[in-house]
Symmetry: C2
Subunit: 519 residues, 2 copies
Amino acid sequence: MRISSTIRRAAQVNGNGLATDYLDRQQTWSEFASRIARLAGGLRGIGLAPGDRIAMLALNSDRYLEYFFAVPWAGGVFVPINTRLAPPEILYWLNDSGATTLLIDDNFAPLLPKLQGQMDTVKTIVHVGDGAAPEGMLSFEGLIDGVEEMPPIDKGGHELAGLFYTGGTTGRSKGVMLSHRNLLLNAIQFAGVAGFRADTNYLHAAPMFHLANGAATFCIASMAGTSTIITAFEPIATLEAMQNKRVSLVLLVPTMVNMVVNHPEAGNYDLSSLQDVLYGASPMPEAVINKAMEVIPNAGFHQAYGQTEAGPVLTMLGPERHVTDGPLAGKMKSAGQAIPGVEVCIVDEDDNEMPPDTVGEICGRGENVMLGYWNQTEMSAETLRNGWLHTGDGGRMDEDGFVYVVDRVKDMIISGGENVYSAEVENAIYQHPGVAECAVIGIPHEKWGEQVHAIVRLKEGEAVDEGQIIGHCHEVIANYKCPRSVEFHPEPLPLSGAGKILKTELRKPYWEGEEKQVH
Amino acid sequence: MRISSTIRRAAQVNGNGLATDYLDRQQTWSEFASRIARLAGGLRGIGLAPGDRIAMLALNSDRYLEYFFAVPWAGGVFVPINTRLAPPEILYWLNDSGATTLLIDDNFAPLLPKLQGQMDTVKTIVHVGDGAAPEGMLSFEGLIDGVEEMPPIDKGGHELAGLFYTGGTTGRSKGVMLSHRNLLLNAIQFAGVAGFRADTNYLHAAPMFHLANGAATFCIASMAGTSTIITAFEPIATLEAMQNKRVSLVLLVPTMVNMVVNHPEAGNYDLSSLQDVLYGASPMPEAVINKAMEVIPNAGFHQAYGQTEAGPVLTMLGPERHVTDGPLAGKMKSAGQAIPGVEVCIVDEDDNEMPPDTVGEICGRGENVMLGYWNQTEMSAETLRNGWLHTGDGGRMDEDGFVYVVDRVKDMIISGGENVYSAEVENAIYQHPGVAECAVIGIPHEKWGEQVHAIVRLKEGEAVDEGQIIGHCHEVIANYKCPRSVEFHPEPLPLSGAGKILKTELRKPYWEGEEKQVH
C-alpha cells in the first residue's frame, strides 16, 4: 500500500470527477494528481531526500491536501503542526522531528520571527499562498509551475509516511510514526463501514493537521471522492458549505457538533444532502447527539473512537445503533464495536484480559497501529507491549462487544479513593436544560486527594446557581461522583486546535505548585 | 492482520449472531469460534507444527469453513484441493505442497485406495463426516470434542496462510502462496464495495476450494455475517436456499448464473431477499447477465475480476454501472475499475504502460498480490517482475479507467496472424436465441496456424445448423473472428471444479500430437 498508488488509482477511476473544491478553485482528480506529482518534483528539486521530514503549519486548504500526498510521493515524511500551538511548542515539534522544510501560510507567517534562529534543522521555508513569496521564503506555486511530474518514489507498506504529534494537551508531545499501511489500511477498514463511497462529497471542516480529519482525508482519497474544504471550523461557514456544496459526509468533533446544531440559525439551512455524520475524538454528551439527530434527521450518525496511535480508528457505533427504540437500542452510550480488521480488548494493569463490564484499559491491535513514537524507544515499547496498543483510555466492554470509554485515564479523578470519570459527571451536567457547555476536573483536596469540580457555561439568559447544578447531579449519579464545587464561566471554554476542551488550561490555576498524578 | 483475529473479532461483535447454517446444523459466532479454537488444538494434538501444510478434499460444509480458520489459528497452512481432479492430479498437489495431513469427506474417501502408497508426505488422514471414522483415519469431530480451546499462534501479516493451486485447466498446477495480509486485506478492500455487511447472509454455492468463493469466505468473516451453505452447486438447491434461507448475497461464476436464471423453474422462487449478486472468474455473456438482471430485479450486480494470484480481486463493476440507459451506461462490457487499495495497468511485452484503449497484458499491484508460487522461484520472479503481478490476461483500459478483459492470453486464438479473442466470439454466438452454451477454441490449421472453431449446445427443441451460427456471427463481428467450423454438443459442456468450461478438454481431441503455443 502506497499513498502515491491511492492517488494514481483515484485519477485513473475518477479522472474527470471533482477532487477538491476550495474557495473559487476546483480541480478534477486528473488535475489534482498532476499538481501532486509536480509538487513532489518541486520538493525534490529543493533538496528533499527520501525520509526527510516536511512540516506544515496552516489552516485548511486544497494545498494542505496536496502537501499530504506530494510529500510521501517524493519519499518524504509529513509533519502537520497543530495550529493552536505557542511558538515554543512549534519549535519543539520542528526540532524534535528534525524537519528540514516548513510550509507555512499567511495566517502563521507572522509567527516566523519568533521561530527564526531557533529552528535547528529547518533549512527552507515555503510560503503557502497566492502571489509572490515574502523575502526568505519559496513560493508553493513556484514548486509546481513548470515542474515536470515525477514518478512516485518506491516507498510504501511499513515505511514511515507521517509523524502526527499527539494532542499536546497534557505532558510532552510525542511524534506518532504512522506508515503508509497504517494510514491506508485504516482508511479502507473505516471507509467501508462509515459511508465513504466514490460519490461522497466530504466536508473538511475539522482541522486538517489533526488525524481525526486526516483519517477522512485518506478515506476520501481511497474512494476517489470529493473534498470540499473550508479554511477553519466556524458554525455558519460549516452550515453554508453543507447546504451550498451539497455535502454528503462530514466529520466533526463533539464540540463542533454542539456549536453547529445548537446554533440559533441551524434551522435555516437545507442539510438534506447529508447522508452521514461522523463524530469522535472526545466524548459526546447525550443531549448534543440527540439534538444533532433532530436537526439532521436524514443522516446516519457514526461515532468513531480511536487515537492517533491507532491510525486512528479502533471502534465505530453505526447508524443502526443510534436509536432509542427497538431491538438495537441501548448502545448509544457506547463507542461501538471494533471495526473490521481491528481487535479490541480491555486489560488490567498486568495485561490480563478483563471479564465483560469491568473497567480497565482499552487496548487495540491491527496493522493500523503505529510503528511507535519518534525517538522514544522505551515509551514505544511500553505503549505497544505484548503486541497491543495500550490506549491509556479507561473503558469496559459489554457482553455484545460494545466498548464504553469511561475516561481518558489522565482525565480520571481519584477522590477519596474512588475513581470518578469526568465524562460521566459531564454527561449528568449536560442534562440540565440551562447548561451550554461544561468540563469536570479534579482539583487538589487535602483530605480526599482530589475534589470533583465543575466548570459550567450557561445558555444565554439562563440563571442557574451552584446548588441547582449539584442538586441536579445528585438526582442522576452517585453521591461520590457529584461535583463539590461549581464555577461559572461566562466565555466559551478554551478549546485545543482539534476542538477538544482544554482541561489542562482549566486545571492550571488550581494545580500551580502541585503535581496532578497521572495514573 | 491475522485470520485468527478476524474470527475473534467476529465472535466479539456478533457472538450471538448466526455464523453458519448448513443442513440441520446452525451455530452462532461464539460456538463457531469455539469449535475453531478447539479444532486448532486438536490439529496441534496430532502433530501439526507451525508452517505445516494441511490439505482438504471435500464438498462444501460448515466443517470446510472450520478448517479454513482453524489451520492458520494453529499456525498451519491450508491447501484446499479441487474436487474435480483425477487421482494423479490430487497426488501432484499433495506431494508438491508437502501436505502432512489430508482431510477428506465421504464423497472422496473412495478415492483413497488410488492415493495410498503414493502420498509422499501425508501422515494423517482425517475423516470429515459424522459417525465413527473409517479404519486408518481420525475423526474430524474427535479433533474437537473434549479438546481445550487453544490460543491462536502468533502468525499473521506477510506470513503464509494458504496455498491455492491455480485452475489446473492448462499446464502444470502451481501453488499460489497467499499470506494472512493478502487474503484479509483483499477481503476488506472488496467487502466495502461489494455489499458485505454485518447483516449479510451469504450463500456458499460456489465450491469452497476455489478462491472465488474463498474471497467471499474472508469477506463474510471480516464483517461477522452469516454463511449459509449448500453442499455443491445445483440450480434448484441454489434457488431453494436463496428463497428459504433469505439469502442476501451470493457469488456465482457465469456458468452457474446461466444455469440458475435460465432454469425453467427460476420464476417460481421468491428471490426478493437477494440484495447483491457477485459474479466473476470468467467472462459473462451479455445475454446471461441481461437475463439475470431480469430474473433478480432487486439485486445489485457486481462483476469482480481478478485471479488467485491477486488474492483474488483486482477490479469491480458495481451495480450503478449495470445499466443500459443514462450517463453511467456503456460500461457493462467491462470488468470495472481497480477496487480501493489496488492499482491496475495495461502493459506491452516490455512492461511499458499502454495508452488507453490499447490491448496489452493486465497487471495489478497492491498488498493483496501473492507472495509467489510455491517452490517456483523463477516463475514467481517472472510473474511479479517490476513489482507488478502479470496476470497473463489480455485486456485494455478505457479513458475512464474501466478494464476490458479481452481474453485469457492462453485462450487467445492466433489465426492468419490476427489475434482472435474467444470471449468475443462466444459473446456473438450467445446472442443467437437457439444457443444454450458455447465455447470457442483454436484448432490446428495448416495455413492459418489456428482456425476458429465453435462448440455449441442448443436449447432443447431448437434446430440450428452450422451455416446459421456462422451466418449469425458474420452479422455481429468481423469476418476473421467468425468460426470456420461449428460442432454441436448434445450434452452440457464439461466444467472445471470452479464451474469454468474446460477448454483444455475440448481442445484435446484436436491437438493430440500437436502443441498449442501459449503466448
